[in-house]
């Protein structure tokens, strides 16, 4: 029963992300009180799983990219906020609002990308490319997990 190895790079972002995400899911599951989830609870769990997914992806990427740094910072800020029970809305990174109010494409892209507010257009494009690649692997891994778990 030797698993046939596909040509996966053991150090690739995909495997790192999968590893971290699975570990995070396991940790989350240990905290789960009741096995049939209460409908109100599902939303909370959903938020936590989403955060876990994004944070494990960002930490798998590391600090090499601006978007991963910004994402980790945002998550940590939010975690600190909830822990200290302060409901201060503090945006890490600040938003640059256009005075005219019109949203051109670059601004839309900036709002989508974490940490995109403080980037010039050229690096914004580069980071978007990397972000798209990481999002696709994230979706793939999560879909596999869900398929495996739901069967």
């Amino acid at each position: 029963m030797t698993p046939h190895l596909s040509s996966t790079n053991p150090n690739s972002i995909k495997t790192r992300f999968a590893y971290k995400f699975l570990r995070a899911l396991k940790r989350l599951n240990k905290r789960r009180p009741t096995s049939p989830p209460h409908p109100n609870e599902i939303f909370r769990w959903f938020r936590m799983i989403k955060t876990a997914s994004y944070s494990s992806m960002a930490s798998a990427v590391g600090s090499r990219k601006g978007w991963s740094q910004a994402m980790l910072r945002k998550i940590w800020c939010r975690a600190l906020e909830t822990r200290r029970r302060r409901r201060r809305r503090r945006r890490c990174g600040g938003m640059i609002r256009r005075s005219s109010g019109e949203r051109n494409k670059a601004d839309e892209l900036r709002s989508l990308l974490p940490g995109g507010e403080a980037m010039d257009f050229c690096s914004l494009l580069g980071e978007t490319a990397h972000y798209i690649r990481c999002l696709t692997t994230q979706v793939q891994v999560m879909r596999n997990i869900v398929d495996l778990c739901s069967t």
């Binding site: 053991p10 699975l22 580069g126």
Partner: protein, 338 residues
């Protein structure tokens, strides 16, 4: 004499666009011939020159201030060859350098075109540097351009300050014929090229973007794609949240499978206990081995919630597997699809 003719021909061929240079080289050829007839003792000065390192030689040869008279040049044909070789060093692209030995070095006919170090250095730092140089050389280039009737299309930015022998990093941009050559437009052109390259990358990443032309539409597609990916992540995490109670067993098997196959080389310490079904100390691991081998249950370490969740997933899995006939597939093989 044929060597002189060779340099002439070379210079004329490569230096089509600069007729002045051609003329100069012809003149130079005549001078050389004249010099060859009479052995000169000025040959020593030139060979002394040649003992200097190449950069300084180029500087000396190309400095517009110093007037190089043909008389100061050696009549030796070896010297001419060496000089032409130096010229080939200095100018990889430009033609002017092949006729590098200026007879009457008029400023507008000789522009040093030494290659810069790296092309993606910060243009800001190079701008104040390159600005002065470019202003000086703009006139030259324009005059040269007017003088050319050639088909050659590329010129390189000159870096006169690098004549000192130190190559300063600045942006190497190719200005096409008929385009402005001042530093601002050059920097802008470099920036635009970078942006275009990245847009091409993005077009390849986003499916269906190759046919679209125009930056705005491509950006629209990119934005839509990112939004759809983010929505997919949300949907999947919703599904995970709903499915989650069953995950307990599967997770460990997944983790084992995940760690077992691709990460064999990486973390042997962690992998080994997971890989072996003989049962290790982990309580959870035993569940996964249960899943694989249907051995007897050991539940010494299982917590309360594990017990509660264990029975249902086991039964559900088994029933599901038997019904689905996919029980033969070990989880690690399924995981290989990742």
């Amino acid at each position: 004499m044929d060597r002189i003719a060779g340099t002439e021909v070379r210079s004329v061929n490569c230096g089509e666009e600069i007729e002045e240079i051609g003329v100069d080289s012809l003149q130079f050829g005549e001078e050389i011939r004249r010099l060859m007839a009479a052995p000169t003792d000025t040959g020593s000065s030139f060979t002394a020159l040649l003992e200097l390192p190449a950069n300084q030689v180029m500087e000396l040869l190309h400095s517009p201030d110093t007037v190089r008279t043909p008389a100061s040049l050696a009549g030796d044909h070896h010297v001419i060859e060496r000089a032409s070789r130096f010229s080939v060093f200095a100018a990889t692209e430009m033609s002017t350098e092949t006729s590098s030995i200026p007879s009457n070095s008029t400023p507008h006919s000789h522009v040093v075109k030494l290659e810069p170090v790296n092309s993606d250095s910060n243009p800001n730092s190079s701008d104040p540097m390159a600005e002065n140089d470019n202003r000086k050389s703009t006139k030259r280039k324009e005059r040269e351009k007017k003088g050319t009737g050639s088909t050659k299309q590329s010129k390189s930015v000159s870096n006169e300050s690098s004549r000192d022998g130190e190559k300063l990093p600045y942006v190497h941009v190719r200005a096409r014929r008929g385009q402005a050559t001042d530093s601002h437009s050059l920097a802008e052109r470099a920036r635009r090229e970078k942006i275009n390259a990245r847009m091409k990358l993005l077009q390849e990443l986003v499916p269906g973007c190759n046919k679209i032309s125009g930056t705005a539409m491509v950006l629209d597609e990119i934005i839509n794609h990112v939004q759809s990916l983010q929505h997919q992540v949300e949907l999947l995490s919703m599904r995970l949240a709903a499915v989650n109670p069953i995950i307990d067993v599967n997770l460990d098997s997944l983790l084992a499978a995940e760690s077992g196959s691709p990460m064999d080389t990486n973390i042997p310490g962690m992998v080994m206990p997971m890989m072996w079904p003989e049962g290790q100390g982990y309580g959870n691991r035993q569940q996964c081995q249960q899943l694989w081998h249907f051995d007897g249950l050991h539940q010494p370490v299982l917590g309360r919630e594990d017990n509660a969740s264990f029975i249902t997933p086991e039964t559900s899995l088994l029933s599901y597997d038997s019904s689905k006939d996919s029980a033969s597939l070990p989880p690690n093989q399924l995981k290989m699809e990742l």
